[in-house]
Symmetry: C2
Subunit: 300 residues, 2 copies
């Protein structure tokens, strides 16, 4: 397979393609496959000639690509879903622990102040999304003595979740939950999943973590809940709008923490992406189904 | 056994004593055992008549009691060591993750700023102290994909540590270590364990966590290392001096986080202590060795 790595050929990714048995094309004109490391759909579009039968994108969440209308049935499109599960799962765990232990308030304090934190041990955490990130979170929660309950499209069982709810029953999966971690793609089904009604169903000690996409949360409803003390905290790697503008209340609220979409930092990001690309190139060469195939009907 | 719970008889602790088969004495004069919930050695001293054969203290770290010279061989003294392992171990994990993911800097930011965090996964963490807290940390680190190496008095193997070094070889145990978690009692051997030389042996991305006692760290050396960028961060539940005074550089340094000795919050603290007291009363009644016996020669 002739693979073009664009818009700029990252060396780590190029090496992964070569090691996996792919040939690296100098120009997109000669490529059957494109590994696109960019973030801008219009920039990719001119390179999509009829000879390109597979496009590998660099992101796990491809909602902006779907919205741009570029992803169609004329060729195979794959995301990086699954590539960043461990690293983003660790960040989600860090954010949940920080929120429950009230570390944002401690970090902002300039004097000895005994903010009373809670404990993740013994709590029940709803993880929305049971993919690689959600599974990584569930695994870590188990070691922390917390019960992880999952939520996905159809309620299918996924280890290591103790139980998995179908999102179609929303907001029933929130019953009896202490905290919520959002690790699902942004789709019409998940957008504004945590709206005012969902937030009101949570206990006042609940911490909400978002490492998925900002639009899974109704930001105004979240700000209102935090302002009213109806929520224990919010620890967000992603926000809506994003970037979060200066002066936004989420920068000021004591129980809010915003980590500016850094859950998946460079250069580890490229290393994990390259490993994912390598696996997919090898699978393509061997005629096996690719990982992370995007289904526009499903929305990710 | 006649047990006096003082200086004020907490109901949860009294119930634990009764359930374990002890009789709760109304006054210290009639007590063979004292469960002392206070923090002030001179306040306990007048109650220590010759009939008192066992004193149970409420703290895991008893360095101040030893310094006060109250603990002697005339009676059995027990600490609460072991009672708070899970809860303090969780805080230590939260602090380590926060430091590695640069959450203190994110918490203080008022605008979108992409501070580049690291990852605990794949790192090697030295946990000084292999008691209940250290073991709880090691268990959580495993689930995070990190290797926990222990350090205790004699290098004896303690699960789930991959390896355990003897503190007598200090600073050799720091070799090859990414981060350090302090979870050991304050003794002459551990005081100022992290001094300028030890800090200089750590890599510049290292995060130092302290949930033990402030004096295990040379604070001035820590401030110097953080100021010079020679250290990735410091996340401290305990400090020296404590409480940390206003205006201290640790309140201002970007990579420092101080959580004001809240790792073991009420009312969970009392519940864990009561469980520990109940076990020890039952063991005393049954003539079995108590948990947490203080050895003044050992220093905890």
């Amino acid at each position: 397979v002739n693979v073009w790595v664009g818009p700029v050929a990252d060396r780590t990714v190029v090496e992964a393609v070569t090691r996996a048995g792919g040939r690296v094309a100098d120009e997109p004109a000669h490529a059957e496959a494109i590994v696109w490391l960019g973030y801008d759909p219009p920039e990719l579009e001119p390179h999509l000639h009829d000879g390109v039968t597979w496009v590998q994108l660099a992101q796990a969440g491809v909602n902006r690509w779907l919205a741009a209308g570029l992803i169609d049935a004329r060729r195979t499109w794959t995301s990086a879903a699954g590539a960043f599960g461990e690293v983003v799962g660790e960040r989600a765990t860090a954010l949940l622990l920080a929120g429950v232990h009230r570390l944002p308030e401690h970090a902002r304090s300039r004097r000895w102040t005994r903010h009373r934190g809670g404990s993740v041990a013994g709590s029940r955490v709803l993880v929305v999304g049971t993919g690689a990130i959600g599974q990584a979170v569930a695994h870590r929660l188990r070691a922390l003595g917390s019960e992880a309950v999952g939520c996905n499209r159809d309620g299918r069982r996924v280890p290591p979740f103790a139980a998995v709810h179908a999102i179609t029953g929303w907001p029933a999966p929130l019953a009896g939950v202490d905290h919520v971690v959002l690790a699902a793609p942004s789709t019409p089904q998940t957008r504004k999943l945590l709206d005012a009604a969902a937030l009101a169903a949570l206990p006042s000690h609940a911490v909400v973590v978002n490492v998925a996409r900002g639009d899974l949360v109704d930001t105004d409803a979240l700000v209102a809940a935090l302002t009213d003390g109806a929520l224990g905290g919010a620890a967000l790697d992603v926000t809506d709008p994003e970037p979060l503008p200066e002066g936004h209340p989420l920068w000021e609220l004591p129980a809010a923490l915003v980590s500016s979409h850094t859950a998946n930092p460079q250069p580890e990001r490229t290393a994990h992406l390259a490993a994912h690309v390598g696996v997919n190139v090898a699978r393509w060469v061997a005629g096996q189904p690719l990982h992370g195939i995007i289904d526009p009907a499903r929305g990710y």
